[in-house]
């Protein structure tokens, strides 16, 4: 029997202790359906080593996403707290934070504490309703810090509006980690009757830490945006390496399609510049290969770019830093402009969709305001408009669709992918809930690539748990290992997170649940394919 859990209050965020506020145990976790209902109970994440505990902040939940070093002395602590307060002032200033001031203030001021959003959060529910993961926990703490330390409206008003948070280093350190326990899926914001966006508050907290204090996960900053600005891609792929990959793609195309083609690269004046998440070239080359086959078969005028910044759609700045975001978006658009293509088309990368098509819309001025769109409507035209010869029977296996938050809830592209799957997959079945009500894969906002210390375990067992549950429920009548099943995830980061949960639970080996993108299914259905496009080999 589970022991009674300690009740966490808002003011606990300030407690000065080396022990974490909470540790999520196996008993806390949301149960999973078959075949994982009978698996032995295992702690969702390992404790950090004594050395790690000594060196890094982990007093929130015993997990470290940031590898945040502990301050050496009291003076350093005070300095960091002062910098946090200075950053908070900037966050609340129209001049300093014009890009998100209005929705941030709206979100901070409009919450009526009805907690309607709580049950919408997959992290909160999967963890067994841990108070610190409640969408409003960090927001309310921030709100009270603002009331007490920034607004300073007198003792009585401050008392009446909640003055229980002490702004000290433990508070700042825990808030920094807490900003990285939310995937920014914004399902809570979708639920909020008042339009308060706790996802945005989390994102703005991340921004405060990055832009004012230089604190961000290494995977997003140093080896993410900084690396992308330096070499052209967050994966570190150079232009020369990219060109080598294109040759490999041509070999793959010949092997699968039976035709030798020259993939257009840097073709000036093409109608379309197709831009992929460079992770696809590293981990799932079959995805850009399928795009190439489909575009060639449909006779489109298109090109890839080998220019620095032109072969990478990601922009991790979307999740934590306005300045890095703007720098990368401008460089990506500049490539398309110089190539004189008619439009940029985003491949299967959710945050690149949201980042470059939607958010960047209001930083791209004059000639930089360049046409940008999703691959989905274009693919729908090709598949449903009869531009490709397709045989749905080639995809006659159970297929379900994961809706990437960035593409669906945050962009409103809901139906094209469904119309495509209904056309080419006779056994297509929806997850519940789906569309704009979907659950995040658990890898959103950079989590899919963050692997610091025990963070990967936390992700796989907590933030991705709801998605795992959904997948298993969707395939509950076909769990037999003799039936191959396909989780279609048209987003690179989602695909990575789903790969990890399927892999760590042996669901491919034991239950034949496979995963991949959308274009792979389209290529697999093509009549003139020399051999089946999907090879069902785990990777």
């Amino acid at each position: 029997m589970a022991t009674e859990r300690k009740k966490i209050r808002l003011k606990d965020i300030s407690i000065r202790t080396d022990e974490p506020l909470i540790t999520v145990t196996a008993d806390d976790l949301m149960p999973l359906p078959p075949p994982l209902d009978q698996q032995g109970k295992k702690a969702p994440y390992s404790p950090l080593s004594e050395n790690q505990k000594k060196s890094f902040e982990c007093s929130l939940d015993g997990v470290s996403a940031l590898a945040l070093p502990k301050p050496k002395n009291k003076e350093e602590e005070e300095k960091l707290v002062a910098r946090f307060l200075s950053g908070l002032r900037k966050l609340l200033s129209q001049n300093d934070n014009w890009p998100f001031w209005q929705p941030l203030i709206q979100s901070l001021e409009s919450c009526v504490r009805c907690q309607t959003c709580s049950d919408a959060c997959p992290v909160y529910v999967s963890s067994g309703n841990q108070e610190i993961y409640r969408p409003t926990y960090k927001s309310e703490i921030l709100r009270r810090i603002i009331n007490k330390y920034i607004k300073k409206r007198g003792k009585i008003i401050t008392k009446l509006t909640g003055d229980d948070i002490k702004l000290n280093w433990p508070t700042v350190a825990r808030l920094a980690e807490l900003a990285y326990r939310c995937t920014l899926c914004r399902r809570c914001a979708q639920r909020c009757p008042l339009g308060s966006d706790n996802g945005l508050i989390g994102r703005e907290l991340r921004k405060l830490f990055s832009q004012e204090m230089g604190i961000a996960p290494k995977e997003l900053h140093d080896s993410g945006t900084v690396q992308q600005l330096k070499v052209g891609a967050s994966t570190g792929i150079s232009s020369a390496a990219f060109q080598g990959m294109v040759e490999f793609m041509e070999d793959e195309i010949e092997e699968k399609w039976g035709k030798r083609i020259k993939i257009p690269v840097d073709k000036e004046g093409a109608d379309i510049l197709l831009i992929h998440n460079s992770g696809e070239f590293m981990s799932w080359i079959e995805n850009p290969v399928a795009f190439a086959i489909i575009f060639e078969a449909a006779g489109l005028s298109w090109t890839l770019s080998s220019e620095i910044y032109g072969y990478e759609a990601t922009n991790y700045g979307t999740w934590y830093d306005d300045v890095q975001f703007a720098r990368i978006a401008l460089k990506q658009v500049e490539v398309a402009r110089k190539l004189k293509v008619k439009k940029m088309v985003m491949g299967e990368c959710g945050h690149a969709h949201k980042g470059l098509i939607v958010i960047a819309d209001r930083i791209l001025m004059d000639e930089m305001n360049f046409p940008r769109e999703s691959f989905l409507p274009l693919l729908e035209e090709l598949v449903c408009g009869g531009k490709l010869r397709l045989d749905p029977q080639k995809n006659n296996f159970p297929v379900t669709l994961h809706d990437p938050c960035n593409v669906v809830r945050l962009m409103g592209i809901v139906e094209p992918q469904r119309r495509i799957l209904r056309k080419i997959c006779p056994q297509f079945r929806e997850m519940e809930p789906h569309g704009v009500e979907n659950y995040c894969c658990g890898g959103g906002s950079g989590f899919a690539i963050m692997n610091s210390m025990n963070f990967k375990e936390w992700r796989e067992n907590i933030s991705s748990r709801m998605k795992l549950k959904q997948i298993l429920e969707t395939f509950n009548d076909v769990l037999d290992s003799g039936i191959r099943k396909y989780v279609c995830a048209p987003c690179s980061n989602c695909k990575g997170a789903i790969r990890d949960i399927l892999s760590s639970n042996d669901l491919w080996e034991k239950n034949s649940i496979y995963y991949g993108g959308l274009v792979e299914l389209v290529a697999n259905a093509m009549v003139d394919m020399k051999r089946p496009y999907i090879d069902w080999e785990w990777h």
């Binding site: 910098r83 950053g87 129209q94 300093d96 014009w98 890009p99 998100f100 001031w101 209005q102 929705p103 203030i105 709206q106 001021e109 409009s110 009526v112 907690q115 309607t116 409003t136 309310e140 008003i157 008392k159 009446l160 509006t161 909640g162 979708q190 909020c192 009757p193 008042l194 966006d197 832009q211 004012e212 204090m213 230089g214 604190i215 961000a216 290494k218 140093d222 900084v226 330096k230 300045v323 890095q324 703007a326 720098r327 401008l330 098509i357 958010i359 819309d361 209001r362 930083i363 001025m365 004059d366 769109e373 409507p377 274009l378 809830r409 945050l410 962009m411 409103g412 592209i413 809901v414």
Partner: protein, 274 residues
């Protein structure tokens, strides 16, 4: 004196509300963040040439939300059972006052008295039922009480007192109120008390969540899919912001330069995060 306070509070309400609206309207245009309830224009190829949601569609959606509290109905039904009567009651009371003040000139006071009492009491009853229910839930329900600041616990009893006092005034002094208030300017004691409470409420209203509800729609938080096109007002406003200095202090930012320069002209300095 009481009328002076009452009309002063109306003036205060108008000025404070106008200032809040001004703060909202003059806020810097923000980046395109957005949430969608369903399909958007991005489902179309070359979406920039297609029609986005019209103002009429947005307005209709807003009216339905405000009239029925649809979001609460779908997401938090137990709370809605009390919130809805409260809101419908408030809407009815606002209309009642308008009808009463303006209708009295063209409709007989007897007619107003009969139907005014009925309408007023039903509206008051609904609001009162909502207030009591909300207050009890805020005290009893674990989810609803956890982060609820102390100041809001004062709000509900205060509203209940106003309602009870209003009920008393309407029930026992209905015939006198109109003439007293608008013609003779010598309100009776019950009306005076009601006006005093109403004045406090009017002073509070501009700072309440009711204003926030309207701002949510003004912000177009959920439907702000208006694209930035070359030469547009959006572009003009953004350009102004791009000339502002970047003040953030982290080493990779390059504080002090203008946004336009920091984002486009300078290479990102390669600094390690801390």
């Amino acid at each position: 004196m009481i009328l002076f306070i009452f009309y002063g509070s109306i003036l205060f309400f108008i000025i404070a509300a106008a200032l809040r609206v001004r703060r909202c309207v003059s806020a810097p245009i923000h980046l395109h963040w957005e949430l969608y309830k369903g399909s958007s224009v991005y489902e179309l190829t070359e979406w920039w040439g297609k029609t986005h949601n019209t103002f009429g569609e947005k307005l209709w959606s807003m009216i339905l939300d405000l009239l029925f509290l649809r979001e609460f109905y779908h997401r938090n039904r137990n709370f809605w059972y009390f919130l809805y009567p409260f809101h419908i009651g408030i809407y009815s009371l606002v209309l009642w006052h308008a009808w009463f003040l303006f209708g009295a000139k063209v409709i007989s006071i007897e007619f107003l008295s009969i139907w005014g009492r009925l309408w007023g009491h039903v509206a008051t009853g609904l609001t009162f039922f909502g207030i009591v229910g909300i207050f009890i839930k805020r005290v009893k329900d674990e989810d609803l009480k956890i982060y609820y600041p102390p100041i809001h616990y004062l709000k509900w009893p205060f509203l209940a007192v106003i309602l009870l006092e209003a009920f008393y005034s309407v029930q026992f002094y209905f015939g006198d109120i109109f003439e007293d208030l608008l013609l003779e300017f010598h309100p009776n004691v019950a009306t005076k008390a009601h006006l005093l409470f109403a004045s406090v409420l009017l002073i509070y209203l501009p700072f309440s969540h009711i204003m926030q509800l309207f701002f949510r729609y003004y912000h177009y938080l959920r439907w702000d899919d208006v694209p930035n096109v070359r030469g547009s007002e959006i572009e003009r406003r953004i350009k102004e912001h791009l000339e502002r200095p970047v003040t953030w202090s982290a080493p990779h930012i390059q504080s002090g330069k203008r946004w336009r320069e920091v984002a486009s002209k300078l290479e990102c300095p390669i600094t390690e995060g801390k």
